[in-house]
């Protein structure tokens, strides 16, 4: 039995088809990542899994329960953190954690153990007496996450949980997710940080209401079959414009202090020398690059147009 079974799920909002016949299986105990551009339908899919909206067509089963008919059974076994999670602003950090622990019926022993672990990730311990309303934006996000993770549901659905969370805390957050996964929880998580997709067992790329690719991170990256080069030099923005104007170039993207250039076919050495001259020596270094999840993301968006 799969933890989540989605068959031909469709959802319209007026004339807009938000999700167009999605089928997807999430296995027991899996860490499953969902990525895709804004407006791809990710939140709609997640809300349907959580029984918060009714499918127009298709079936969604969570631990074999139907989201249309077994709403209470699903809610009892599922944890959900929406993009905007509501904290009690006038309760302190520790009171919020305590409140959600009680709400989910977490035992005292379990609560204390988990709270300590969550403080380690969130570094909120020094602020535990502070009212949630007086925390910084990122700290609020970390408290909201902590409240969602205070219990151990069978299935945990997290909608962009690390938005606004700093890089060090993100790493620690993923450590906690992994420890929750080890306890047997199935995790379905969306993210705008594509380095996080690489931390999942499997990942689905959603675009324009459809699943464009699904598989392990390496399988998804393996669908990328064009020559990809990382190039750098004095002025990367100028370099990007230079390469974008070449006829053989499929796409260009800035990646920090370098540019990723995707070609139709492998360029020859003589061409690189030519480009170095033509760019007035701006081009300094180039090397074949294995595609990152972000490269794959851009390729799928480009293909669809």
């Amino acid at each position: 039995m799969n933890a989540i079974e989605i068959r031909n799920f469709r959802k319209h909002y007026g004339a807009i088809e938000a999700v167009k016949g999605v089928s997807l299986s999430v296995r027991q105990g899996e860490m499953f990542g969902l990525i895709g551009p804004d407006g791809a339908g990710k939140t709609t899919l997640m809300r349907a899994i959580c029984t918060l909206l009714v499918p127009d067509e298709g079936t969604i089963l969570v631990q074999s329960h139907d989201v249309k008919t077994d709403i209470m059974a699903i809610r009892a076994l599922l944890g959900y953190m929406p993009q905007r999670f509501s904290l009690y602003q006038d309760l302190s950090v520790e009171q919020n954690l305590r409140f959600f622990a009680d709400l989910f019926g977490v035992s005292q022993e379990e609560r204390e153990k988990r709270t300590e672990q969550l403080y380690r990730f969130s570094r909120l311990a020094p602020f535990k007496k502070r009212k949630a309303g007086a925390l910084s934006g990122g700290m609020k996000q970390k408290l909201a996450l902590s409240c969602a993770l205070i219990h151990t549901p069978q299935v945990l659905v997290l909608d962009e949980p690390t938005t606004g969370v700093d890089p060090v805390s993100r790493e620690e957050f993923w450590d906690i997710l992994r420890s929750i996964q080890r306890e047997g929880t199935t995790i379905f998580v969306s993210t705008a940080y594509l380095d996080e997709a690489d931390k999942c067992d499997r990942v689905a790329l959603m675009h324009q209401g459809e699943i464009a690719a699904v598989g392990s991170p390496s399988e998804v990256r393996g669908t990328f079959d064009q020559p990809l080069y990382q190039v750098s030099g004095r002025d990367v923005r100028a370099l990007r414009h230079f390469f974008a104007a070449l006829p053989r170039v499929r796409s260009t993207q800035l990646f920090g202090d370098s540019v990723h250039v995707v070609f139709d076919q492998e360029p020859m050495d003589s061409e690189w020398q030519e480009w170095r001259r033509d760019s007035h020596e701006d081009l300094e270094r180039w090397s074949l690059q294995s595609p990152s999840m972000e490269d794959v993301f851009f390729e799928f968006i480009a293909r669809k147009r």
Binding site: D38, Q83, Q141, V168, A192, L254, G256, D257
Partner: protein, 257 residues
């Protein structure tokens, strides 16, 4: 690149406390005109507090700060005319159309109808919002809402722009498009102070500052930071420096738990 050495923003030993909590601890920095200056730091490090002080929204507890040569203590009202501000949760009227939002904010800034129309055209063309002019703001994809929020923040042509996590929650494509707009704005001479948790965006800044527990722990160009700490990316520099600070504070923190 920064056009000259004119100082747009300057702080000296800037400090801000909330009760006994020191959110910003003796921060000294200079930002040049036309520079894209990145604020990095862990959650709660004090980035947003510095920005709020510089925008004239919070009084400092100690130290000094000037924005466009105006003093944050005595000239906070004048400062508001010199700056644009866009925050993590930008405030657009969701039930107004894109055009109506621009007209509304233009009215707040005291622009004439003609000025508003000119700005509107400019925003439509350079931000790619043209096709959405009559759309309800609520119906826009997040990346376009964010561009509209930026457009509304610069209607009065502020020389200095504060962006507090402007790309939070935005997909990789829309993030890059937004940074193209930031660069365009900076090339026209606007000074941009921006906070972000996306470390690849830190690479797009001319200089970055890394804050921890209210203090500056690093301030330099991305290139120099990587060279100095022998790392391949600002992400690695950031994680290393912030972790080092956390280790140093661990014992102090442990006493709270």
């Amino acid at each position: 690149m920064p056009t000259n050495n004119e100082i747009a923003v300057k702080t000296k030993d800037l400090t801000r406390k909330f009760g006994r909590f020191v959110a910003v601890n003796s921060v000294s920095m200079e930002v040049h005109r036309g520079e894209i200056f990145g604020f990095l730091g862990a959650n709660g490090a004090g980035k947003t507090t510095v920005i709020r002080v510089l925008c004239g929204l919070l009084q400092p507890s100690a130290g000094s700060a000037t924005v466009a040569d105006l003093d944050v203590y005595s000239q906070s009202e004048q400062i508001k005319h010199k700056i644009g501000y866009m925050s993590q949760r930008f405030s657009l009227y969701e039930d107004l159309t894109v055009e109506e939002n621009i007209e509304f904010y233009g009215g707040i800034y005291g622009l004439t109808k003609g000025q508003i129309r000119n700005k509107e055209e400019q925003i439509f063309t350079s931000f790619g919002l043209g096709p959405y002019g009559h759309s309800l703001t609520a119906s826009l994809p997040l990346g376009f809402k964010q561009r509209l929020a930026l457009g509304c923040a610069i209607l009065h042509d502020p020389p200095i722009l504060f962006l507090d996590e402007p790309t939070s929650g935005v997909d990789p494509k829309a993030r890059r498009e937004f940074w193209d707009i930031i660069h365009q704005t900076s090339e026209e001479g606007t000074t941009v102070l921006v906070t972000t948790h996306f470390m690849e965006e830190a690479e797009y800044c001319h200089r970055v500052l890394i804050m921890d527990a209210g203090r500056i722990i690093a301030i330099d160009t991305p290139h120099n930071l990587k060279k100095l700490h022998q790392k391949d990316s600002v992400q690695d520099v950031f994680v290393t420096l912030v972790r080092r600070e956390l280790e140093g504070r661990k014992e102090a923190d442990a006493s709270y738990v």
